[in-house]
């Protein structure tokens, strides 16, 4: 059986999600042995001329013209495109600057000095704002098990479905005693599941790194936060560092 051609590309990100993939490869070479990795970001930054891909993984936010061209290029030559990592799915850390768009050049000058010309967009985007994405594998970083299961499913011809329920379900299944009930401000109820709740399992509140859950009860969450002295603005900031300042609503 011909192995599917898989390519990996990276844009504006810390590449932590790539390390998760490498970890997964270490533990489960069988899955990675079943695919033909034709392009890996560390070896080739851009697609080779005639290459066509069965599956393309794109990580990182689109924050400049180069990134935007790259994602369009990849889309044209790929059957199935996966945006992986919160940066690719929601904008992530590169998008932290989004709410201050208008101060973009001022910040740039401050950080890089006035001699380096501004090359990036005033705002960093999720990949889906530029091309159609077939699957969003979110997480900061991604959950390596999800990566393995998605590749496994694609090898079997199954289209993966991202969880449409909150982290609370993962958390209970992981046997964690609810942090929220102990007074910790956990963003679990409004965050998309799929990570197996490693942070709550280590007694750290979920901070919503996997992005907002579309059907979450935002009103109630705001109310409960307020009872703990957290204003909606603050909650926006907490979750907003992964979504470019925007919440789901």
């Amino acid at each position: 059986m011909v192995k599917p051609k898989v390519a990996f590309f990276g844009m504006t990100s810390c590449k932590g999600c790539y390390f998760q993939l490498l970890l997964a490869n270490e533990k489960l070479p069988a899955i990675f042995g079943s695919i033909d990795i034709v392009d890996f970001w560390m070896l080739n930054e851009k697609p080779k001329d005639d290459d066509m891909y069965d599956i393309a993984f794109i990580d990182g936010a689109v924050s400049n013209h180069e990134n935007a061209e790259l994602v369009r290029n990849v889309r044209e030559r790929s059957k199935y495109v996966i945006a992986f990592g919160t940066c690719a799915c929601h904008g992530g850390i590169p998008a932290v600057r989004n709410p201050d768009e208008r101060k973009h050049s001022a910040y740039h000058k401050l950080v890089y000095g006035k001699d380096i010309k501004v090359k990036s967009y005033p705002h960093a985007d999720p990949v889906s704002r530029h091309i159609h994405v077939d699957y969003e594998m979110t997480g900061c970083p991604i959950n390596e098990r999800e990566a393995v299961e998605v590749i496994r499913d694609l090898l079997l011809g199954k289209k993966p479905v991202a969880p449409d329920y909150p982290v609370c379900v993962d958390c209970k299944k992981a046997g964690v005693s609810c942090l929220f009930k102990e007074g910790t401000l956990c963003m679990g109820p409004v965050t998309r599941a799929g990570c197996n709740a490693p942070c709550p399992a280590s007694r750290t509140a979920c901070d919503g790194c996997r992005g907002p859950l579309p059907d979450a009860n935002w009103n109630e969450m705001e109310k409960l936060m307020k009872e703990h002295g957290i204003e909606k603005k603050t909650m926006n900031m907490m979750l907003g560092k992964y979504t470019g300042g925007k919440m789901a609503k």
């Binding site: 079997l156 011809g157 199954k158 289209k159």
Partner: protein, 279 residues
């Protein structure tokens, strides 16, 4: 004391002996159980369903569309998800897992001697085809039969090859109606409800059967009642997410009823008593 049935979730193997391309996105699979004993155990009545599995991919629910008398069974599939997509890649000779039969079928004994109106909407046709085959085999036991089969476009029509055989029977009227007018179609147009209205029936001795999308069932049952058919004589086959097939996993419940166990065929009278919205 009725004996308890014992269940596990292990499917039995059946071989794909024929694949019929009915319409874009719809195929009929003709299956033969590998072991004859399995077909004997899979003794089904029209309206019952089975759970069909491809190991590693998943399971999907289908009502049989073939006559219960046939050695081989048939199911009609539309590719809308992972399991059905995988089924569409199957070839003759491939194996598929089968569990069942489950559920309560159409009450064909109860409506003996009556006239029967069968109304099918799109992919709701399969179980009603099984019903029709059953009625035609016992033609003398039933009165007049009307079949109203509605589809959105002319391309969606299935079982074209069965029509001629059905029409040969006495007092069987088959109306295929297409919602969207087009040049290739010379036949009836409009919704199934338009055609129910045109029927001249004796409501006291008529039963109405229907299967199709929830919205359609709602309007069809209203039309049946307008004709004077009693809710106890209107039988509808419902769709819900099914996984276990035996009323345990909870997915198919409507109020306190389980569509897989108390249905999928319910009378309108039963549906009215449901404690949750049906449609």
């Amino acid at each position: 004391m009725p004996k308890s049935d014992r269940h596990t979730y292990k499917p039995v193997p059946a071989e794909v002996v024929r694949i019929i391309d009915e319409a874009p996105g719809i195929k009929t699979f003709r299956l033969r159980f590998e072991r004859p004993g399995d077909r004997k155990r899979f003794d089904f009545l029209p309206g019952q369903f089975g759970l069909f599995s491809l190991m590693g991919i998943g399971e999907a629910t289908f009502s049989m569309c073939s006559s219960p008398r046939e050695e081989e069974i048939e199911i009609s599939v539309r590719n809308v998800g992972n399991t059905t997509d995988a089924m569409f890649t199957m070839k003759k000779g491939d194996l598929i897992g089968v569990r069942g039969p489950y559920g309560k079928g159409f009450p064909l004994d109860v409506v003996k001697g009556k006239d029967v109106v069968i109304v099918a909407g799109g992919i709701g046709f399969p179980p009603l085809v099984s019903v029709l085959e059953y009625l035609l085999f016992r033609r003398k036991d039933y009165g007049k039969i009307w079949v109203i089969y509605g589809v959105k476009t002319v391309d969606d029509i299935v079982y074209r090859y069965k029509g001629p055989r059905w029409r040969k029977h006495k007092d069987v009227t088959i109306t295929t109606t297409v919602e969207k007018k087009c040049r290739e179609w010379n036949g009836c147009t409009g919704m199934v409800t338009d055609h129910i209205r045109k029927l001249k029936i004796n409501p006291a001795n008529t039963a109405g059967f229907s299967c199709g999308p929830p919205v359609m069932l709602k309007f069809v049952s209203e039309e049946f009642q307008k004709l004077g058919i009693e809710p106890e004589n209107i039988h509808l086959s419902l769709e819900r997410m099914m996984q276990c097939g035996i009323g345990k996993c909870g997915h198919c419940n409507i109020g306190d009823k389980y569509v897989c166990r108390d249905g999928p065929v319910f009378s309108l009278a039963e549906l009215r008593r449901m404690q949750e919205d049906v449609w």
